[in-house]
Amino acid sequence: MKWIRWLLLPLLLVLATGLGYAVLSLPDQAPGLQSAVAGQLEKSGVTNPVTAVLLNFRGYDTLLEMVVLLLALLGVWSLGASPAACEQSTPGPVLDTLTRLLVPVLVVVAGYLLWAGAHAPGGAFQAGALLGAAGVLLTLTGGRVRNGLGRRALRVALVAGMVAFMAVAVLTLQSGRELLAYPPGQAGVLILLIETAATVSIGVTLAALFLGGDPAEGNER
């Protein structure tokens, strides 16, 4: 088996050289799609081109991305109950206070990023990642929100983003437009609506992915 290892290195070098050559042979100046995006930007309802691409011009990409997140969580949950990794731990006073201070800050910053996504770098995924981080922080420091709502609330939060997206998609189809082609007047509001629901879903999904396994007791964040 040793000789295969020695064969592997030159093969990988050939691959890397080929890829490097391909990258270098691309033209230094390429117009790209920024002028096309900039031309349609005022119809998109937002002024940040990346958000416009994500949620308006290529909205179905983002819709399917929500599905991917949900599928990954279903895959994790199908493996059974969560492993013993997330046992209750009792943090010291410093860690406890820090968490109590940090989690609200994380939530506020997530809200800011969500709002800023319309005109500056930011948006649903960044905000969702922060919410997920808050959930992970709470989990690691032993915080458990004992909610009486249980699994149903968790599941509603998990699918909220996808449901909002699908509802808008069906509405646009119903009103005789293409799939996810928002009417220019309401595009900004619709994008904000989708992004808000998606932020909650992404945050809860990421935290649930971190927990791993079906939360049998229905305790989440």
């Binding site: 290892r5 592997l8 290195l9 990988l12 070098l13 691959l15 890397a16 890829l19 490097g20 990258v23 270098l24 691309l26 033209p27 230094d28 100046q29 390429a30 117009p31 790209g32 799609l33 920024q34 002028s35 995006v37 900039a38 081109p49 990346v50 416009a52 691409v53 994500l54 290529r58 990409d61 983002t62 991305e65 991917v68 997140l69 599928l71 990954a72 969580l73 895959g75 994790v76 493996l79 059974g80 492993p83 990794a85 948006g123 995924f125 992404i202 999904t205 990421l206 992915l209 971190f210 791993g212 396994g213």
Partner: protein, 102 residues
């Protein structure tokens, strides 16, 4: 050589390094990490190629693709880690394949 192609070359290097690690190492955690390194290389190539528009703003479409890719990579990594924990719990080792006797 422009700064964009330098970043792109670094991305190609990361991709190749990750591919090497995926093939060479047996431990599943190393494989998962290596796949993430490969993904980071691809993202770096995409982002660097988005900045080739001269003085105008960078191309937003590759940026949107990368942010989609990051989310997909995170969820795939979480699934892979869960599967790895299952394999470790079932077999006692976080590796695939037969016991190597030879």
């Amino acid at each position: 050589m422009s700064i964009a192609s330098l970043y792109a070359l670094v991305g190609v290097g990361l991709f190749s390094l990750g591919l090497h690690a995926v093939i060479v190492y047996d431990h599943l955690l190393r494989k998962i990490l290596a796949i993430n390194v490969m993904g980071s290389g691809v993202f770096l190539v995409l982002i660097s190629l988005a900045g080739r528009g001269g003085n105008s703003a960078p191309d937003p479409v590759p940026h949107a693709m990368v942010i989609t890719g990051i989310v997909v990579a995170v969820s795939a990594t979480a699934l892979a880690l869960s599967l790895m924990l299952r394999v470790a719990a079932a077999t006692g080792r976080a590796e695939l394949g037969e016991e190597r006797g030879d």
